[in-house]
């Protein structure tokens, strides 16, 4: 049951983030939306590793079934990649703001 709530929350986060990406005009808002949506997709993967009543996947922690370690490993990678993407995107936003003095997506598109 916990996995289901985790998965549903992940989908909701992704939807929220994508909504913000399309609706907001400020590009920093769009980046925040991308951040939240990435969080959603990452949470989706983590929630998949849940097994009811299981222990963490470390060998010395006692008997019994363990949770699935692979999605956790995938998520470590995905978090780092999303962080790197966000950092680079923010750097580009800074440069763009420096040149064009605006953060409004509509004005940036028109003044080509």
């Amino acid at each position: 049951m916990e996995a289901l709530s985790g998965l549903a929350l992940a989908v909701a986060l992704a939807g929220l983030g994508l909504w913000a990406m399309v609706t907001r005009r400020n590009i920093v808002w769009k980046l925040l939306g991308l951040n939240v949506a990435s969080g959603g997709s990452i949470l989706f993967l983590v929630a998949l590793s849940h097994r009811p009543g299981a222990r963490p996947a470390i060998r010395g922690l006692g008997p019994g079934p363990a949770v699935d370690p692979l999605p956790q490993a995938l998520v470590l990678t995905a978090i780092v990649i999303h962080f790197a993407t966000l950092a680079l995107a923010l750097a580009l936003v800074i440069i763009l703001t420096e040149h064009r003095h605006t953060q409004d997506a509509k004005r940036l598109e028109e003044e080509q």
Binding site: I58, R59, A66, A73, A84, A87, L90, E98
Partner: protein, 212 residues
């Protein structure tokens, strides 16, 4: 446009929900303890990250480092545009930040070095060092902290750590090295890279503050 967006997002989330409901029964996966045993460590997640899927981890480290290269390159020329007020922190805060940074660093080294036995590993350790540097930067001001850390050497150290990670990867993947020492070395190298990259982000972004 909002109607189309609502329709699209509802549709996509509905499809995802349908997919989630049909996910049970879940398949069995190989016993994590055996994976950990096969690689000589205790943490199965570390065994997967730095063992079974080491190739992925190498590429991911490259993603991180090259993003930092990009950030450094793009923000290289930006400086303060207006005169910023001096950092108005109390001496108590500055002194305690100095004192706290030592234990934070030790804790990070512990998390990195014990990543193959317990939870943790290189990535959290790097982030811990980054947070410690953030604390110092808040107390002392980024410019003063940057003056105390020699930046070109740090950058060179980060790239050297990447090269060492590539060599380690070659040893494990091509020559079949399987020992816990490789895991500890990998974790510490990754912690170095993540920490220096986080410092680069912190420094360049703080330096680029100003009139826009």
């Amino acid at each position: 446009m909002r109607w189309a967006l609502t329709f699209g997002l509802l549709g996509l989330t509905g499809l995802l929900g349908l997919g989630i409901f049909e996910i049970w029964p879940r398949p069995c996966f190989p016993d994590p303890d055996e994976i950990a045993l096969a690689w000589g460590v205790e943490n199965s997640v570390a065994a997967i990250v730095l063992g079974q899927r080491l190739w992925d981890t190498i590429l991911e480290v490259l993603v991180y480092v090259l993003a930092m290269v990009g950030v450094r390159f793009f923000l290289a020329g930006l400086r303060w545009q207006t005169k910023l007020p001096p950092v108005a922190e109390t001496p108590f805060f500055r002194r305690s930040a100095d004192l706290l940074f030592g234990p934070i660093l030790v804790f990070a080294i512990y998390v990195a070095a014990s990543g193959h036995i317990g939870p943790g590993g290189g990535f959290p350790a790097g982030v811990i060092v980054g947070s410690g540097l953030l604390l110092l930067a808040l107390a002392k001001g980024t410019e003063q902290l940057a003056a105390e850390l020699y930046e070109p050497k740090l950058e060179g150290l980060e790239y050297a750590a990447v090269l060492a990670t590539l060599v380690l990867g070659a040893l494990v993947l091509i020559f079949g090295l399987r020992s816990a020492t490789a895991f500890v070395a990998g974790n510490i190298l990754i912690a170095l890279e993540v920490a220096i990259g986080a410092w680069a982000v912190l420094h360049r972004f703080a330096a680029a503050r100003g009139e826009v």
